[in-house]
Amino acid sequence: MKKILILFVLVALSIHLTQGQSVRVTGKVTSKDDGSVLPGVTISIKGTALGVMSESDGSYALDVPAGSNTLVFSFVGFKTQEVAIDGRKVIDVVLETDVLLIDEVMVVAYGTTRKDAFTGSASSVKIDKLSEIQTSNVTKALDGLSSGIQVTSGSGQPGTTTAVRIRGIGSIYASTSPLYVVDGFPFDGDLNSIPQNDIASLTVLKDASATALYGSRAANGVIVITTKKGKQNENRLSFNAIVGFNVRGIPEYERVNVPQYYELQWENLRNLFTEYYGMNNADAAESSSYYLISQLGNYNAYNVPDAEVVRTDGKINPDAKLLWTDNWFNEMHRMGIRRDYTLSASGGKDKSTYFISGNYLKDEGIVKASDYTRFTLRLNADTQAKEWLKLGINSSVSTSDQNYPVSAGTAYVNSFMWSRIIAPIYPVYLYDLNGVLQRDDNGNKMYDYGNEFGRSRSFGALVNPLGTIMLDKNLFKKDNIQSKGFVEISFLKDFRLTVNLNADYEGNTNLEYLNPEFGDGEIYKGYCRRTSSRRITISANELLTWNKTIKSHSFDFLAGHESYDLKYNYLSAARSGFPFPGQYELDAAAVIEGASSFEDNFTMESYFSRLNYNYNDRYYLSLSARTDGSSRFSKESRWGRFWSAGASWRVSQEPFMSGLTWLNDLKLKASYGSQGNDNLGTYYAYLGLYDLGYNNMNYPGVFASRLPTPDLLWEKNVTLNAGVEFTLLDRLTVNFEVYNRRSVDLLFPVPLSPSTGYNSYDANVGAMKNTGFDLDASFVILNKGQFKWTTDLNLSHYKNEITKMPKDQDQIINGSKKWMVGHSVYDYYIQKYAGVDPENGKAIWYTTDTDGSITTTENYSYADRFYTGSSSIPDLQGGLTNSFRFGDFDFSFLITFGLGGRMLDGSYQELMGSTPGYAMHKDMLKRWTPTNTHTDVPILDYDVNSNETSDRWLTSMSFLNMRSLNIGYNFPNKWISALHVSDARLSLLVTNLHLFSARKGLDPQQSFNGTTDDSYSPLRTTSVNFSMNF
């Protein structure tokens, strides 16, 4: 900055010398908010390139040439103010904070830029809003805070990452995840290692102009995170504590209770007897009462004889009393406590700045034995060692322990699956036939494994996951070290060379232990797998920049070289047969169950360059180009070029617009360019390979696994972006962009005759496009005295369409979707439900007759699949934040929402089946009966096909989520200043307050592809946050 100052002074002097008549103006700049002095404010003379900056005491002095009469005061985070000189020599100015333009400087690829000079598309996420979402992982906090982003809700397991997509679906077979860049370098480490409190900015780069400089890794967008730094002359000590509790964020589906369940199963049996065994109604009813309990594995939850639980009228015996009321969910889950403490110090003096922070997080999940504990330390420091030399380091260390029991999929130990699907009649603990709770010799409640007292539970035979969860272990220990250093040399007036070095280390050790007593480990007499891995990335770049302003022409040129070297080592070994409880090390067991290790290497070398030009702060042009060499591809094809061009026009700077006082800002912009997606799922995308490890007892074996593909390349994106930004009446700021993102050279496994020994080979053959718009708006609704109300809204919409399929393969069925030109990746292609035959209650589906006409069938295997006309892509999604401030109180809440799109609700489908032992949804009460013939729920008659997959399970994805709530109180200065505290704040934070979705229990954000899993529910976290600054 000093150089620029000198430059300005020189220019000013020269003008002074030539014109010889100027007036010196002095003054002081202060903030309207608290009256503090403002150093670093740019004071320029309107219509010229002259200007100075205010000193550390807020004062300034400037020589104003004759003929100029207006000073412009501008400063990041404050409203720019124009002041007429009118012959005055001393002008003191009070600047007002600017809520709309608070993020005037934004972080972009390899540097920062002024927002008004930026030609591309990027969203800066508001850091204060980000930190209101309580999670260990920043990806889970992004939902609703920026346009163009789609985020899945993710597992409720603390310490997990969720999936993020930017502007639609970038690929079919390769990765769709954005590139993360942390403090200037691509980041392949664990995002959980970065506490939210350490994050200074998070920018989502969306179009080619913004991302092309990241070349072959940027096609799915880039998320740029920078960590905090100290500020000159602003020494600060901060303490932040958040303490709260976690409960289930998404409620359970509504299911029938015990008496309803017995009655429904009775009817199930009765209809079986009449339909398939030809019994008359009376006999069937009697047999059903008789066999009911045995059909459910001899589980009689009532104190009446088996045959009298449900009487022959199909109603539960009114005299029956329940013998047990165990609740599986409550027994397996808990309220988790969450604690998050941060202590940090930052500041700077003379020529150095620093930021030090330490964070401790302990986040308990709601599954018993699920938690996450993390320590992090960070030090960011830099110093201007010489006038021409600046040095700095940026390093952080984190270590975490995560207990992560299996909580997704169909494994019985998944407590969410189990507690959802098991019929309500089955107890957690062991009861005898009289309902007496059984205890072991130590007086502990015994678990019911479903096989005592002549019982044979129809669901999960010989399993009790509660016993397993408490005894099994799934522990992840991670250590992360991120260390960066830079040297910056200024030379020849306008040049700067920066050399950055970066090392990211991630060490992982994992313990997977299956106990010898219960569950899957029983047959192994205990099983333990130890895994250890190490990932280290060493990267370096050298950036040469040149800044030059010649009259109204400004140039900003960047040339750089970067190398990237990732090494991943993996080692895993397992043994079984554990004689002593509580021993988890391999030495404790004798039988080797497996051992393996491997190393992966991935390297890249890149050259890149960017030129930003602006004329008179009115016309902007940005050109960038990057050449990447990637070790993923063969020698012949590994180098590729990526580029972009962007331009913008600040219409409001034109002289003809100067009269429009209601229009503060108006900018038009457009960009075009290409980026690559190199993450094809393998680091060796070109070699013909045999797999090692096909060992036959003691003899090493290999097996052919991959055909060579020397021509394989990265996928490419070609993106067009156009947008308009404007600010009206100092209150409303809008950024609206449309885009057309074409993905070409998409990776497809091109099918081969399986009889050749290979099913497919990889080739770049497909194409797809995403078109859509992003809208961000900020509106100061009210700003009067002590009261202020602002609203931020973002909306996103995209359409996805496949435009090219592999030759000879014009359609590919992938689960419940079919890929075809003209359809999206997520267009459902499934059987169509025709409802219930009112005559007999059977489910019917549509089928195509031999003559091509559409008819219906009761036989599911004849039902045909059709495009249903719906997909899992929402029509519109967004986030709405309302923030209120009244004096020392503030209040804000974030609502996220989606409109359109459909889920294939497989969890609901599971609950609408007839299998004895499996829980049922309340909608089963609407089933077809002779007296209820107009329904879409079929008859209960043991028909396992009645709930087969069809569009019957497609459910609206529209939702409204009360995503977060924050009520805060800032202690007044007069109370705390005596304690040397500069500010103190107490607030209540709630994350995932309430979800409105089409069906209770359904989480419409759990996946991009619209399928459901009985997985770890997102958490609702309620906390008290106390923070203090000294």
């Binding site: 035979a461 169950e593 096909y694």
Partner: protein
């Protein structure tokens, strides 16, 4: 100027730090295909890779995919000698309802056997360049490669087409003798058998000329090659060849005694096997394994009652009461009916659990091929009777000499196959080979579980369709090449 020099030093030091091979990386748990065939050890590793591939679980979630023993269960469940009372893995096999082009049971054997063929074709394609250390090593490696190829085609043609006799000119399966990426047409069944017999003759020829002791039970040696030829000849109705091949195959192998038979079929060294898969804990496939599905003594799918497998009551009743094969069975009342658990497979006894060794060929099968081939040649019934007597002598406490002749003798031999080879994957294959009706009546099969109580001879239900992926991707095949 000092500054400039610093800059130049830095730029030079860092900018050119990427050496020429910086971007050359290779995987460490895979090997470049070209490296494999540079040594004889590499070619042997491909053979061992095949042995292992025949017993791996390619997708961990598919507990009914664990190599060729999963096909043995498939074949047996399609017959009448095993009874299922629950729904689970293999239910569709039990219901003969897994044969359509899109189903996974259709694609898995196809893919697996053709992968084996591709691997051995690669060995054979490099036969001239592999630096073998001796003629015996060359014979052992190439002999195994050829036998594997014959064996794979034999399995394929029996799944995807009816038996040989009467279907010689029907469409077969594509035959490849060298590595390629272009699919071929189906040809005829005769073409396939021509390839099989040629490969077996060649393999037997070079292994006879350069005999060497076998390294491991999983290796194909001369006896196994003869044994496979015996199976092929029996299928082709070449009775004389079947007889001599079977007899040659079992030379040097005693029959398993009653004690051997009762030893649980889980440790190859505890009984007499000609060919088998030795397995240890590390290489076992856990819940997705033969013992998990068939062994009622350990806590797998069968033993935990998730999907128990019983021996059909009617088959049980046909065995003599003093027969060890019957004595290993035990009645079990599951609440709705009496079933019989067959403890033939008993990995609890040996402690092998899911890692039980698996049998692929034993001398008794050869004896039964011999007996059947003799009986079918006519006029030598007493020889066949003697063979049966030899077997009974090691199964029953007080065997009664076999006296039946003619068709009754043949029936007795075929019934003996069911007793002896129960659970080893032969019954479904035999029903298809013998073109007989599947009859599950009069036993403890429940139609609600098995769907078909009877299936007429050579019903389309026995014929697997060509996987749709093959029809779609093979330029020399279209829908008109599909089985009904």
């Amino acid at each position: 100027m000092k500054r400039i020099s610093i800059i130049i030093a830095l730029v030079a030091g860092l900018c050119f730090s990427c050496s020429d091979d910086f971007l050359d990386t290779k995987p460490t748990n895979q090997i470049d295909a070209e490296e494999v065939y540079k040594t004889a050890t590499g070619a042997q590793a491909v053979l061992d890779g095949i042995s292992r591939k025949l017993r791996v679980q390619p997708i961990t979630s598919r507990d009914d995919w664990f190599g060729i023993k999963s096909f043995d269960i498939m074949w047996d469940l399609m017959g009448e000698d095993i009874v299922c009372t629950q729904q689970g893995w293999f239910s569709y096999d039990y219901q003969l309802d897994y044969r359509m082009a899109y189903w996974s049971r259709c694609s898995y054997p196809w893919t697996l056997y053709y992968q084996v063929i591709n691997n051995v074709n690669n060995i054979l394609a490099h036969a001239e360049t592999i630096p073998f250390e001796s003629d015996t090593q060359r014979a052992a490696i190439l002999g195994q490669a050829l036998t594997y190829r014959a064996w794979a085609y034999f399995n394929l043609v029996n799944i995807y087409q009816f038996t040989y006799i009467g279907h010689e000119s029907d469409p077969g399966v594509p035959v490849y003798t060298e590595p390629t990426t272009t699919g071929k047409g189906r040809g005829t069944v005769q073409n396939v058998y021509d390839r099989i017999t040629a490969d077996l003759s060649e393999a037997i020829g070079i292994m006879t000329a350069n005999p060497s002791p076998r390294r491991h039970i999983s290796d194909i040696d001369l006896s196994v090659a003869h044994g496979i030829y015996a199976r092929v000849a029996l299928q082709m109705g070449n009775w004389a060849k079947a007889e001599t091949e079977a007899a040659t195959a079992r030379q040097g192998y005693a029959l398993n005694t009653r004690n051997d038979f009762a030893s649980g079929f889980s440790v190859y060294s505890r009984s007499v096997w000609m060919w088998g898969m030795e397995i240890n804990n590390e290489q076992s496939t856990g819940y997705g394994s033969f013992p998990s599905h068939m062994d009622m003594t350990i806590n797998g799918y069968a033993g935990s009652w998730s999907m128990p497998k019983y021996i059909s009551v009617s088959l049980y009743n046909m065995m003599a009461t003093d027969d060890i094969r019957r004595q290993l069975c035990e009645a079990y009342d599951d609440g709705t009916a009496i079933h019989y658990i067959n403890y033939k497979f008993n990995a609890a006894h040996s402690g092998k659990g899911f890692a039980a060794d698996q049998v692929l060929m034993r001398p008794e099968e050869m004896l039964l091929i011999q007996a059947e081939a003799i009986a079918r040649q006519g006029g030598r019934d007493s020889e066949a009777q003697t063979l049966l007597d030899n077997l009974h002598a090691v199964r029953q406490e007080s065997p009664v000499p076999v006296t039946v002749t003619g068709t009754a003798l043949l029936d007795a031999i075929l019934l003996e196959r069911r007793f002896e080879l129960w659970g080893e994957g032969f019954r479904g294959r035999d029903i298809k080979r013998l073109k007989i009706e599947l009859d599950r009546t009069g036993s403890d099969h429940d139609q609600a579980q098995c769907l078909y109580m009877t299936v007429p001879p050579e019903s389309v239900l026995w014929n697997y369709q060509i996987p749709q992926s093959e029809i779609d991707a093979n330029p020399n095949m279209d829908e008109s090449d599909q089985n009904d």
